[in-house]
């Protein structure tokens, strides 16, 4: 039972690593990498839910037959990936502007300069 839950544990691991990066890393780019890691974890979770043992992709063109994996989580993952790209683009542009103003990406130095 436990051994089959490894993909879910990978999900938990990815999210924890990402959260660690967001909370403890001082570089803004590394924080953004952390957020994308959390997002990959959630996407992996969705796609894991869609898998049926021994199944093929839910596409009828030249399908070999047999059980098909679930289509809805795959569609949700697709949506969530595009949303992730959009958020990433906006965050990176904001970081470019922060760099323009402060000439650094270190959170501590930014905080020092504000005070």
């Amino acid at each position: 039972m436990m051994a089959f839950q490894i993909p879910y544990l990978a999900v938990a691991g990815l999210i924890i690593i990402g959260l660690y990066a967001v909370l403890f890393k001082r570089n803004l780019i590394k924080m953004i990498i952390g957020i994308t890691l959390i997002e990959s974890g959630v996407n992996l979770f969705l796609i894991t839910l869609s898998f049926r043992e021994g199944s093929t992709a839910p596409i009828y063109t030249s399908s070999p037959g047999g059980p098909m994996s679930l289509p809805v989580p795959q569609a949700l993952t697709l949506t969530s990936i595009v949303i992730g790209v959009a958020v990433l683009a906006l965050m990176l542009s904001l970081v470019i502007h922060i760099f323009k103003h402060y000439k650094t990406l270190d959170v501590r130095k930014i905080r020092e300069e504000d005070n």
Partner: protein, 535 residues
């Protein structure tokens, strides 16, 4: 005519601002003025449809335009189903009393913001994208407040957070606004990802994304409880409840005022999400016999958080020197009052000794009504104050209170609007803030007098803060650098006037509003089984 519009109203309310947003870049190629007119028309049309939809749901059976559409107080709209329908597979908009109440907000705030922007944004660059983003924000807010599908809720949540982050950073040459926008997007993205994770957990359990279907089949197992906690914590993060409120004053304070008004709406959209999750999806489980103690404990936790939120908001507002950040902290305190009301209502749950049925006591019911009413009032009052702060910034290009003074002589109307906002937000009679806060004080006093005393004290402190601001910015000696300031352009005055009219109307006829809008919303909020039966 009305009936045809009403049939598609839930879809149109989201689709028309979206269509407007997609058209705005093309229209602004032609002419800047034409674009402004176009955006105002689109927003007004959206508000009209929303008002019609809301009226049709909340009004009494005999005066409805299309009574057939509303079954049991709920109008459903199944996307792409034709006449066959299969609501379980497709995306469903399910508009009940709570939604009809919330979308009234979403109809008023963007309209005021767009009219206000006409004058406020006159000299800025990038206006076409600005109006596009405002319309997208409106669409996202309306979608969030009407959808009956969990994943759809997540999508609209992301639309609002991306659009707000871009608009908070509108003044890119100010380093603080870029920083505030970055903070906002980090917090809201993490929140939204945890919302998605919780949705995935629920999907994995019940193979459904529809809120009503999940609510019907939910078993309240351990995994469901984890999903519940993740959802509520993540949405509370986005709604600005302490201790996760730090982004809110920054974001509210640094965004252009007209944007802040719409962002207030999206914040309350997240708050609506908490209500929907707590009262509908998990509603029958939380308000049930077996979980009575858990529910009461949850209520007290919420009360504690609310008191913390009010304290932090009021105390930080007292020591703020920046006009808009101060109003931002006041907004945090106001959110605390709403949480206080809902927490108090949960804390009064009891089990009837005769019938064995559990429910919320009568004072809890008053608290629910007060909290619901306060959502509307808070949004209007705080928005009006932000618009006044924006007007002050517009004429003086100053936001620090130390460098302002004597504006009342040259800006008569703005001063009047500020006084109205001040009286309303600090809960003085006769305006709307008093009506809802009185209900909250009354109900919390019956539960525990200390709570009511704390709430009243904080309200008085809030009043003191705003009176201080009034003296600093509007009264006092006329400063030489503000010798030549003029009243703000007419469109900005009209924007403020829209909100003021609604505030005065609610202040004069609170019973009318409570009976016709708030009570149906509270009834719908408690009635999870009707929502489930809507599918």
């Amino acid at each position: 005519m009305f009936e045809q519009i009403l049939t598609h109203a839930p879809a149109l309310a989201v689709a028309i601002p979206l269509l407007g947003a997609f058209l705005t870049p093309l229209v602004s190629k032609i002419n800047g003025k034409l674009r402004n007119v176009f955006v105002v028309i689109i927003t007004a049309l959206t508000s009209f449809i929303v008002a019609l939809l809301s009226y049709n749901i909340l009004a009494h059976e005999s005066v409805k335009f299309a009574p057939d559409l509303v079954k049991n107080g709920i109008q459903t709209y199944i996307f792409g189903a034709g006449s066959a329908g299969d609501p379980v597979v497709r995306i469903v908009f399910e508009v009940d009393g709570v939604n009809a109440f919330m979308i009234i907000l979403a109809a008023i705030l963007p309209l005021a913001a767009v009219i206000y922007s006409w004058g406020f944004m006159k000299d800025e660059t990038g206006q076409d994208k600005y109006y596009t983003l405002i319309l997208l924000l409106t669409a996202g807010m309306l979608g969030m407040m009407m959808t009956g599908d969990l994943f759809n809720f997540f999508v609209f949540l992301e639309i609002t957070s991306i659009a707000s982050a871009a608009l908070i950073a509108y003044r890119v040459n100010n380093k603080f606004s870029v920083q505030a926008a970055f903070k906002y997007i980090v917090v809201s993205t993490i929140g939204a990802l945890f919302v998605l994770f919780a949705i995935a957990i629920l999907y994995g359990q019940y193979d459904a994304l529809n809120m009503a279907v999940i609510a019907k089949s939910i078993q309240y197992g351990l995994l469901d409880k984890i999903a519940l906690i993740l959802l509520i914590v993540a949405l509370a993060m986005k709604a600005g409840i302490a201790p996760m409120h730090m982004w809110l004053p920054e974001a509210y304070g640094r965004a252009p005022s007209s944007v802040t008004v719409v962002i207030i709406g999206t914040t309350l959209g997240s708050f609506y999400g908490i209500l929907r999750v707590g009262f509908t999806i998990f509603g029958e489980q939380i308000i049930s016999e077996s979980n009575l103690e858990v529910g009461i404990a949850l209520g007290w936790v919420l009360v504690g958080l609310a008191i913390l939120t009010i304290f932090i908001g009021v105390l930080m507002a007292l020591k703020q020197n920046d006009f808009k950040k101060m109003i931002g902290f006041a907004a945090v305190a106001e959110i605390g009052y709403m949480v206080l009301a809902f927490g108090a209502a949960l804390a009064t749950m009891y089990q009837d000794s005769v019938t064995g049925i559990t429910g919320i006591s009568s004072s809890g019911l008053t608290a629910l009504k007060g909290g619901m009413f306060h959502i509307l009032n808070d949004a209007l009052d705080v928005s009006l104050l932000f618009l006044v702060a924006g007007a002050v910034y517009y004429v003086s290009k100053e936001s620090s209170l130390n460098r302002l003074g004597g504006l009342a002589r040259n800006m008569k109307y703005t001063t009047i609007f500020f006084i109205i906002g001040l009286v309303a937000v600090s809960g003085l009679p006769p305006l709307n803030g008093f009506a809802s806060k009185l209900m909250i004080y009354q109900s919390t006093y019956e539960i525990n007098p200390i709570l009511a005393i704390v709430a009243i004290l904080c309200s008085i402190l809030l009043l003191a803060t705003f009176v201080k601001v009034f003296y600093a910015a509007f009264l006092g000696p006329k400063l030489p650098k503000f010798e030549n300031v003029k009243e703000v352009p007419k469109s900005m005055l009209i924007g403020m006037l829209v909100l003021t009219c609604v505030i005065i109307f609610i202040g004069l006829f609170p019973n009318l509003v409570v009976e016709n809008i708030v009570t149906p919303a509270v009834t719908a909020l408690q009635n999870a089984s009707a929502y489930i039966g809507g599918i």
